[in-house]
């Protein structure tokens, strides 16, 4: 990759590495043109191209990139999709394996109701049509972490189709410059996860852990409506928030609960789509954006130099920052799909079609689930904007940080300060403080009550804002700051308060 970068700058291309480095939010002047063929979401901000169009040295030809995603989300459930063994992260190897998971001969799959409900909830949240009848299939291939030699999935008729996902991307340097995009959801299907392989190179062996084999997955297929790494990363982030709000998946990429494969191709606008490559198993939003943008550039580079793009699978090496060919396949795999004969068609009902006298334990009612869907992130953000008058970008930040919304709402509850003030303090000072200390919200030494009280004091003008900031300083572990505080309090109480008492009170408050 380093060599490639040098070459680029040597060739004097106009655009550099806008999408690659961390400043992708402010991507400007990058190479990839946008195809206008797909539908765009509605937005108050004018639809600007996210990145400017590259003009190649020969013939002024634009390039358009097309990115589709296949996202696998582990379903948050107690047991696996077709067997009763438990689902836990980081359990001792091969301790959560039922006879069925190990593919012992004679064992049969039994569908987990919770997984079906999770699929329906997710489908409804993504505006899909829920198929009242869906089917299970076997997808065959040999691999050590696939004990049965096939995966049970839904190839012919998945549980949900034709949905959409709205997400936001920044279109300018200012945080307020955001644009809403929509990506179509092709389908959502239920399928089994595979086990894990650990390659032990020194001993030339592979260790297999089947704990994950058979865990339920929702595969969400996003149509190729995206055009660069940032759009893809934003779409994935929004999907994560939705899944977490629904409770259908914890969607933690680092723990492997959300895995993304990207399908990428480039073409000249107006011409047919190019050959696509697949980049697999990206397990962080950052790598996702980097990998996609690298791959787009790689493909453009190859094509401009007269070479062809191979329809292959690639992986992303995050240390080198580039994609590499993954499987040594001569030709494509034929998965020999076949209907799963041990599972009858999955039938779902709505209130109108529910058979009379049906046992509620045995049937799933889509309407019932729809009525009980939790509030989705989009709605939450809308409410925040309306209720507290905050800017849209603030509502995004509040939801993007795990636990921050709850923290904010708890502070609001306990303070008389104006919401705008609270917003500002939480998003700037508090969040900044956390980032600096490298803490998550749930690790914060400052509790919502403490911040609420501080803001109350500030509101009453009992302390100045600089004093309030000193408190935060104190929390940062600067013990001498407390003396300054004592001084300030004394001043506020017109020297009537006893310094020792003040210190005591302050220490008590600050340590809570």
């Amino acid at each position: 990759m380093a060599a490639l970068m040098l070459r680029w700058s040597c060739l004097g291309k106009r655009w550099v590495l806008a999408c690659i480095d961390g400043g992708s939010r402010h991507g400007r002047g990058a190479a990839i043109g946008l195809t206008s063929r797909r539908k765009r979401g509605q937005s108050s901000v004018a639809q600007q191209p996210l990145i400017a169009v590259q003009k190649s040295r020969k013939g002024e030809h634009e390039w358009a990139a097309v990115v589709g995603l296949e996202i696998h989300a582990q379903i948050s459930s107690n047991s696996k999709l077709f067997s009763g063994s438990q689902v836990h992260f980081a359990a001792p190897p091969n301790s959560l394996v039922s006879f069925f998971d190990a593919s012992l001969p004679g064992t049969l799959p039994v569908l987990n109701r919770r997984c079906v409900e999770a699929a329906v909830m997710t489908g409804l949240a993504l505006n899909c049509r829920i198929n009242k009848k869906s089917l299970f299939d076997r997808k065959h291939y040999f691999y050590a972490d696939l004990p049965a030699g096939y995966q049970i999935t839904q190839q012919r008729l998945p549980i949900a189709v034709n949905g959409s996902l709205a997400y936001s991307v920044s279109v300018g340097k200012k945080p307020s410059q955001v644009s809403t995009r929509t990506v179509r959801i092709k389908q959502i299907q239920l399928e089994q996860d595979s086990g894990k392989s650990l390659h032990d190179e020194p001993r030339s062996q592979t260790l297999i852990d089947l704990n994950r084999a058979g865990v339920g997955l929702l595969e969400v297929v996003l149509e190729p409506d995206m055009s660069c790494g940032e759009e893809a990363a934003s779409a994935v982030r929004e999907l994560q928030l939705i899944l977490q709000a629904l409770g259908t998946s914890q969607a933690n990429m680092a723990e492997g609960q959300l895995r993304v494969d990207a399908n990428i191709s480039v073409h000249h606008p107006g011409e047919p789509l190019g050959v696509r490559t697949e980049v697999k198993n990206l397990n962080s939003a950052r790598f996702l954006a980097k990998a996609i943008d690298f791959e787009i550039k790689r493909q453009i580079h190859e094509l401009e130099n007269g070479r062809k793009i191979l329809n292959e699978t690639r992986s992303f090496d995050d240390k080198l920052g580039c994609t590499m060919p993954m499987r040594d396949k001569e030709g494509k795999q034929d998965y020999r799909f076949m209907p799963e004969p041990n599972l009858p068609p999955l039938l779902l009902y709505d209130t109108a079609s529910l058979p009379p006298g049906a046992d509620p334990q045995q049937v799933i009612n889509i309407d019932w689930i729809r009525e009980r869907l939790p509030e989705l992130p989009g709605k939450t953000r809308e409410k925040l904007i309306q209720q507290y008058g905050m800017l849209p970008e603030h509502s995004f930040t509040l939801l993007n940080e795990v636990g921050l919304l709850e923290f904010f709402q708890n502070v609001i509850k306990e303070t008389r300060a104006e919401p705008k003030k609270v917003t500002s303090w939480v998003l700037n000072i508090f969040l900044g403080f956390l980032k600096q200390q490298n803490l998550a919200v749930n690790e914060s030494p400052v509790t919502p009550s403490a911040l609420a009280e501080l803001l109350n004091l500030l509101d009453r003008k009992a302390i100045s804002s600089s004093a309030a900031r000193q408190v935060m300083d104190m929390k940062r572990g600067n013990p001498r700051a407390i003396n300054k505080l004592i001084g300030l309090v004394r001043k506020a109480t017109l020297s009537r308060a006893d310094p020792t008492v003040i210190k005591e009170i302050l220490e008590r408050k600050l340590s809570s």
């Binding site: 012992l104 001969p105 004679g106 039994v110 040999f142 050590a144 049965a148 096939y150 041990n342």
Partner: protein, 497 residues
């Protein structure tokens, strides 16, 4: 005692004429004496004696579990039995000891049955002779019947005593032989294309194939998931009904079992057939049918008619397509089901450790016989993307037509169909092996597999014992070997009236 029916022996146990332990020991001793039949792969002597002991305790206390308590049974070696080796007569599973019981096995044990052992079969239930398992072929007990030995003495001189023994048919030959040789009172087989009915016919016992979905397949190592059913082998129809009553019903572990509750039933002591309409499918009059079987078929039809039943000719027009259709669907599912045998989690693993692929290839070559490998290759061919539509989908469509043939016939007032089970009586082994497994299966399954594709239940029964004097027909027929006619149909209707 061992020649009695299950019901008779059960009564004897309840009345204390014999104890479970005595019964068990008699059977074990007979198993040893008839070892040359090669009906059993594993004889679970210790387990059986222990179970007999428990049964005895229950009888003494007056707490018998029912008609099956203390009754010696055998189970085909493709049913998973906890702590008892389960091999499917294959190198791939030699030494495999499952950690769980198949549902049907568990049900038998819960009712107090005594497990004598696991019976021999064609490898992974692929075959119609019980000749292609790694433990060798099963010999038909009728090979040693007085009549057969007489006939052989007349024919061939200077021949080795035992060289012309007869096959049992398959693939549940071990179970059929075990029952026919009186070593147990009931045995479990499996039926995918006739594997319970074919050996039942050749061994002169009752072979019952329940409707798909009536009996749980959990623990039955699958051949074709969409057609397999556990089968019941007994020496009379009443015994089969007793066992069926214990086994039928929904199993939450098997999603293809029907949810509706199954009502237990008993067969009437005298069969009243004059409200019955019996159909004779004309397409089953195959040219390869032996004259003996054909005449037997007529005799059975006449018997029913003379007892007051209505006997009519019916048509199952797609019969001629069914064997090919069966072959495509069977091999496709086999290819899929056998994919799990890779030597990693259980079963045979080869010594090669150069690479995973090399290990898979060698393990599967060493573990499977030619028949299994042949079906896997065919099946994978049919499932290839470019072939799927033309073979698999087409076959499924034809399957629908075949199933509809049966539905139409049963909707037109016919209660039961009467057909032969096999083309001829049991043949000598030496003749049987002149053709390969695939050819034989195609020939021998001709009457039986259509019904597996339709899902119907089938009895391969000797109806005579329940009609009039069985000897009458046996004596007048040419054959001294049992032949059976097959009774397809809605058996519940037949028995409940």
């Amino acid at each position: 005692m061992l020649g009695r029916t299950l019901r008779e022996v059960s009564t004897a146990l309840k009345q204390g004429h014999i104890t479970p332990t005595e019964l068990c020991q008699k059977c074990l001793s007979l198993i040893k004496k008839t070892k040359f039949l090669n009906a059993y792969i594993t004889v679970s002597e210790e387990v059986a004696l222990k179970q007999a002991e428990e049964s005895e305790k229950r009888y003494k206390k007056g707490h018998s579990l029912g008609d099956l308590d203390g009754i010696p049974v055998a189970v085909k070696d493709n049913f998973s039995t906890s702590s008892i080796e389960t091999t499917c007569a294959s190198n791939m599973l030699k030494g495999y000891v499952p950690p769980y019981n198949a549902t049907v096995v568990q049900k038998l044990l819960d009712k107090g049955a005594v497990l004598m052992g696991k019976t021999n079969l064609d490898e992974f239930a692929m075959g119609s002779g019980s000749t292609d398992g790694v433990f060798g072929p099963v010999k038909n007990p009728w090979s040693y019947s007085k009549q057969y030995r007489e006939k052989r003495k007349q024919k061939a001189h200077g021949e080795n005593e035992d060289s012309n023994w007869l096959i049992t048919g398959g693939s549940s030959g071990g179970s059929a032989a075990a029952v026919a040789a009186f070593t147990c009172f009931a045995a479990l087989g499996s039926d995918t294309g006739g594997s319970t009915r074919n050996p039942a016919a050749h061994c002169g016992v009752v072979g019952f194939k329940p409707s798909y979905g009536l009996v749980s397949r959990h623990g039955l190592i699958p051949l074709v998931n969409s057609m397999d059913v556990p089968g019941i082998l007994t020496r009379c129809v009443d015994d089969a009904a007793i066992v069926l009553g214990m086994l039928a019903g929904h199993d939450p572990k098997d999603s293809t079992t029907i949810q509706d509750p199954v009502k237990p039933f008993t067969l009437p002591t005298s069969a009243d057939v004059n409200k019955l309409c019996i159909g004779i499918p004309k397409e089953y009059l195959a040219p390869e049918l032996s004259s003996e079987v054909r005449s037997f078929w007529s005799k059975a039809a006449n018997l029913f008619e003379s007892e007051g039943a209505k006997v009519i000719e019916v048509s199952l027009p797609h019969t001629s397509y069914s064997i090919v259709c069966y072959h495509v669907l069977c091999t496709s599912e086999v290819a899929s089901n056998m994919a799990r045998f890779d030597g990693l989690e259980y079963g045979h693993r080869c010594d090669i450790n150069v690479s995973t692929e090399a290990m898979y290839a060698a393990t599967r070559r060493e573990g499977f016989n030619d028949v299994v490998r042949g079906r896997i290759l065919s099946g994978n061919f049919f499932l290839l993307k470019e072939n799927y539509e033309n073979y698999f989908i087409k076959a499924q469509k034809v399957r629908r037509l075949i199933a509809n043939d049966f539905v139409n016939v049963f909707n037109s007032g016919v209660d039961v169909l009467l057909t032969p089970t096999t083309l001829s009586e049991a043949v000598p082994y030496l003749e049987f092996i002149k053709e390969d497994n695939r050819t034989r299966s195609a020939q021998d399954d001709i009457f039986t597999q259509a019904v597996n594709m339709a899902g119907e239940n089938l009895t391969s029964a000797i109806p005579e014992p329940h009609a009039k004097e069985p000897e009458q027909l046996h004596v007048t027929s040419f054959s001294y070997l049992p032949m059976t006619n097959e009774l397809a149909g809605i058996i519940e209707t037949f028995v409940v009236t």
